[in-house]
């Protein structure tokens, strides 16, 4: 399953005698390797970072990259401790991934203080490019605003104009509920009520029962990981969807669908930045990735780690130096291009812009192969997918 420990992606094979310069870059992949996000980030993100280094052929270009990884256990105290130690004592230049918003916010602070670079692929909180924005952070893959915007407006457009939320009772759940409520109301829908469940939760039956009793057309699940899996499973058990209510999982990954099975997950609508079966390039990458990651296709977070590391290395090559300010300026100046997200840009507030997709989970008989799970409902173009620059309240935006 999970491989342990220190991974040296490409050891400095200093055979390139006479190279004019060699930049040593150390990338720290910090994520959840044992908790509820271990299967959507975890070791897979480390593999993705390694693949980025290999595909970039960093050593040939005079950049010696080493990769370290650690488990932040979804706890801000553990995560900030590791980040600080990496920067202070292990000469880590970049931290990548960091799912779990609370930990990411802590790493964001420390990265700014130490003037290093944070490539955030895992976290959801849109505060990272809003009131907590930092000149040292790129928020790559998705955020709560994009999820709410994608799923919320699509559901209302399809006639789901009354909502009831089942919300995980912590900051991320509240943010997702708040952002989605705004989108639903702006699109002309209304919110009938919400219930907060303890985090993490096992038994959602009573909350689902309240959702059922509310008569809302859409039951919005503002939670993540194991909570969402359990809630979807139990919703199917209690006949929520059979009763005519639609279920909207506001944050769901392909691995969650895999865990649920199509029988239960079918018909769910979700917003994602990446799907392995999108085009030849994504399929090619995903096949290579799957081989190295115990048969799991990449999640959008892992895809984001690959793409962000690749872009970072390009910037280092272009600058010829790893100075954080210079590299960051280059990253924002250069348009991004990679096989997974296509062409894109990084905005002044650190937000990476690319298309987002609205997917529907296939029915079991529509799925032709393992991991053939999604059909595309809509493509949300990059300029509509993310929160407008002016609305975030980021201090970097003049």
């Amino acid at each position: 399953m999970k491989k342990m420990g220190f991974v040296l992606a490409s050891t400095a094979s200093l055979l390139m005698a006479g190279a004019a310069y060699a930049t040593d870059v150390k990338i720290g992949v910090l994520n959840d390797r044992s908790g509820i996000y271990a299967d959507i980030a975890g070791e897979g993100s480390v593999i993705a970072a390694q693949m980025a280094v290999e595909d970039f052929k960093a050593t040939d270009k005079g950049i010696n990259v080493s990769i370290v990884s650690a488990d932040h256990q979804n706890k801000p105290d553990v995560g900030s401790n590791i980040a600080r130690q990496w920067y202070d004592t292990e000469n880590v230049d970049v931290i990548a991934d960091v799912p779990t918003s609370s930990v990411a916010l802590a790493v964001n602070e420390i990265t700014k203080e130490k003037n290093k670079i944070f490539l955030a692929s895992g976290p959801a909180s849109s505060d990272l490019t809003g009131k907590a924005c930092s000149p040292n952070t790129v928020h790559w893959t998705y955020d709560t605003w994009a999820l709410a915007n994608g799923t919320g407006s699509a559901m209302v457009a399809q006639g789901g104009d009354s909502w009831f939320f089942v919300t995980a009772d912590y900051a991320f759940g509240h943010a997702l509920e708040r952002d989605t409520t705004a989108v639903v109301e702006a699109s002309g829908g209304k919110v009938l009520g919400a219930v907060r469940h303890p985090f993490p939760g096992q038994d959602f039956s009573s909350f689902l029962l309240q959702a059922q009793g509310s008569g809302a057309k859409v039951v919005g699940l503002a939670n993540a990981g194991g909570d969402t899996i359990n809630a979807v499973k139990q919703a199917s058990e209690f006949g929520i969807t059979q009763g005519g209510q639609a279920l909207a999982a506001l944050l769901m990954f392909i691995n969650d669908v895999h865990a649920l099975g199509l029988e239960v997950a079918q018909g769910l609508v979700l917003t994602s930045a990446f799907y392995w079966d999108k085009n030849d390039q994504t399929r090619e990458f995903s096949a290579r990735f799957q081989e190295r990651n115990a048969g799991q296709k990449p999640s959008m977070i892992e895809a984001g780690v690959y793409a962000s590391v690749l872009h970072y290395l390009k910037a280092v090559e272009a600058v010829g130096d790893k100075d954080a300010a210079k590299v960051m300026a280059k990253m924002k100046e250069m348009p991004t291009e990679d096989p997974l997200f296509g062409k894109g840009t990084i905005r002044a507030d650190g937000r990476k812009l690319h298309d987002m997709y609205l997917f529907r989970v296939k029915k079991p008989d529509q799925s032709k192969a393992p991991w053939d799970y999604f059909e595309t409902v809509a493509t949300i173009p990059a300029d509509k997918a993310f929160r407008p620059l002016a609305e975030g309240g980021c201090s970097l935006v003049k």
């Binding site: 399953m1 044992s34 271990a38 219930v195 909350f207 194991g226 359990n230 006949g239």
Partner: protein, 295 residues
């Protein structure tokens, strides 16, 4: 239709019924803990991990051997029980002459090890366990839709609880057991193999946890962490019922499930803590628990 404090009755009844289902799990788990505590004087912190083992047992039978749910209900609890017996023989046995608290610490350590291994090898996203065809579907009770799988949990746990109560209170074996709880030396003097009785009791208590795990598998995702937080709640149930009291733990299990259900209606966020509030109150007023002997 009348309304109670602004809550429509169908919501109220629905929540009470769901509370009863949760209560079934509390009852079976706390029963196992109570049986173990009664005879071994050990607070079995491993109970949550053993509950998880039950769910994984069912999952492994299905996925590795193709053995379905109904067989798992009968096969898995004895297997989990045997793993418990091994733990008792090899480790827990050595602590009987010491303070209770060492038993608590040992089983806490064992729980960390077991859960850690399962997390390492199975991840934590949870593994799906499809319910058997018979448990699909459900009944519309008017005030709510009751899935068969949940109705079965109530029935199965009631049967098991009553059978356990019967064995302990009404049979000869139970009489030995109760006597050994009171005075092991005396019972030993009558020619009864007390250490064996202790081992079997631990195995039985653990098997109950495994049984609850099998019941949980089709309802909740099979997840290494599934027992970790539940165990703390079940402790509270046992303490409220009175440590070692068989009937107490059964009644308290179902009763607290109902109270938790009510809390979900009136103050959902509080449902995670209401049992601890009750526990603190009960201990302060009636330290031996509602049904316990005084200590």
């Amino acid at each position: 239709m009348f309304e109670l404090l602004g809550i429509p009755p169908q919501v109220l009844f629905g929540q009470l019924l769901l509370g009863l289902i949760n209560g079934s799990f509390y009852a079976v788990l706390s029963l196992g803990l109570a049986v173990i505590f009664g005879l071994l004087n050990i607070i079995n912190f491993t109970h949550g991990a053993q509950y998880m083992l039950g769910a994984f047992g069912a999952w492994m039978l299905l996925n590795y051997l193709g053995v379905g749910y109904w067989w798992a209900v009968f096969i898995v609890p004895p297997i989990v029980g045997v793993t418990g017996i091994v733990l008792e023989r090899v480790l827990i046995r050595r602590l009987y002459h010491l303070d209770h608290l060492y038993g608590l610490l040992l089983t806490f350590g064992l729980a960390l090890i077991i859960v850690g291994f399962f997390r390492q090898f199975f991840g934590v996203s949870g593994l799906p366990y499809p319910p058997p065809p018979l448990l699909n579907g459900g009944y519309n009770l008017g005030f709510m839709y009751l899935p068969n799988s949940r109705a079965w949990v109530i029935v199965a746990s009631l049967i098991v609880c009553l059978a356990t109560w019967f064995i302990i209170e009404k049979t000869r074996l139970g009489a030995y057991l109760r006597a050994a709880t009171e005075n092991p030396t005396m019972v030993g003097a009558f020619g009864i193999n007390v250490p064996l009785l202790v081992t079997l009791t631990y195995g039985f208590g653990v098997a109950l946890a495994g049984f609850a795990g099998v019941l949980a598998a089709p309802i909740y995702a099979v997840n290494p962490n599934m027992g970790a937080d539940l165990i703390i709640v079940v402790f509270a149930v046992v303490v409220i019922g009175g440590m070692g009291s068989i009937l107490g733990s059964i009644l308290t299990g179902f009763g607290l499930g109902l109270i938790e259900g009510l809390t979900r209606v009136f103050y959902p966020e509080g449902s995670a803590v209401v049992i601890f509030v009750i526990m603190a109150l009960v201990l302060l007023v009636k330290p031996a628990g509602l049904f316990g002997r005084s200590v």
